[in-house]
């Protein structure tokens, strides 16, 4: 069974309750239409599960088939350096047909970023290394296309249509004991 390597840690972008019983990790590509569709499904899951779910995104740009994917991943990470990863992440997925340089700059503006710093950061070694590290961790974890999901550390091969995905996560939720208080 393919397992997440490395586990979720301080290097990750995480949203949702830190002590949620279910951790859902997506390896995704901002230009992948399946990931674009999954984006809305994930939003509905986060809403439905509330504090029971924490969501993590790792980059897996398929640059050979999606020419804008790598630059988009760099943009999200660069926004992350100014504490606006999720804002950029959402804008990229909500506008995934528009990922040219000028579009990305628009999104950076809408995220309230310092544009000079953003322009430097998207080109930086740090950002490139982060995206590369995500990609390689995906390869090691058994990512098999985009999106690939890991639920509590194990690759999820089931359907990610909203109904079955929510049912699978809820079923798992039943089996995770509440943390002692």
């Amino acid at each position: 069974m393919s397992t997440l390597k490395p586990p979720v840690g301080p290097h990750d972008h995480v949203r949702g309750a830190p002590d949620a019983p279910i951790t859902l990790v997506e390896y995704g590509d901002y230009e992948c239409p399946h990931c674009g569709r999954a984006y809305w499904i994930l939003k509905s899951l986060e809403e439905a599960m509330d504090d029971d779910l924490r969501f993590v995104f790792r980059n897996f740009p398929l640059s050979q088939v999606h020419p804008h994917a790598l630059a988009a991943a760099h943009a999200a990470e660069a926004a992350g350096l100014q504490g606006r990863f999720w804002e950029m992440h959402d804008l990229l997925f909500e506008n995934q047909e528009f990922l040219e340089g000028p579009h990305i700059l628009q999104y950076a503006l809408r995220c309230g970023l310092d544009l000079d710093r953003f322009a430097r950061d998207v080109e930086s070694e740090v950002v490139a290394a982060k995206v590369k590290a995500d990609f390689l961790s995906g390869a090691r974890s058994g990512v098999n296309g985009t999106p690939t999901f890991f639920v509590n550390g194990h690759r999820y091969d089931g359907s990610w249509e909203p109904g079955p995905f929510l049912a699978a996560l809820n079923a798992l939720r039943e089996n995770v004991p509440d943390p002692p208080h």
Binding site: D29, L62, Q64, L136, G142, G145
Partner: protein
């Protein structure tokens, strides 16, 4: 049941392009990562063939050659390979159909295609790792990398 580690990998000579054949002996002295897959033109982004193409530099870093194999014809492979800009060969197990898949014990006679099966074959032609994934599940590349690393570790 796919051929198991320790067995000699059955030799083959298959069309890699409409006018060029490749065989096991062409990969001697280097580990070979060989994968059987059901068919060209699977309709998802980053399917197995495209995924491995993205990961080709990682296979090379581990000193391995990568080869895909299905029952599709050489012309079909050519078109598919061009479309996906593949940097590694696809072999055509077309005539007699599925003969190599049968030799590796990964043929599905009902459907007339091979399993989704992965093999790591060392430089001496011995199978060092094999894995058959459920037909609908793309196995990813983690198994390959682990097997290739183990092989490297043993040699060093």
């Amino acid at each position: 049941m796919a051929l198991e580690p320790g067995k000699h990998a059955p030799d083959f000579s298959l069309l890699a392009t409409p006018d060029q054949r490749l065989g096991l002996r062409d990969f001697r002295r280097k580990p070979l990562a060989l994968f059987f897959y059901p068919a060209d033109w699977s309709p998802v982004c980053g399917d197995q063939v495209a995924l491995y193409n993205e990961l080709l530099p990682e296979f090379r870093k581990l000193g391995a050659e990568l080869v895909g194999l299905s029952v599709d014809g050489a012309w079909c492979h050519l078109a598919f390979s061009k479309d996906r800009k593949l940097g590694y060969p696809l072999l055509s197990d077309f005539e007699p159909k599925g003969a190599v898949a049968r030799a590796y014990d990964v043929y599905r006679p009902g459907e007339g295609v091979s399993e989704r099966a992965c093999f790591v074959i060392d430089g001496e032609g011995v199978i060092r790792w094999s894995y058959v994934s459920p037909i609908g599940v793309n196995p990813g590349a983690d198994g390959f990398f682990e097997a290739l690393e183990n092989l490297k570790g043993k040699k060093a």
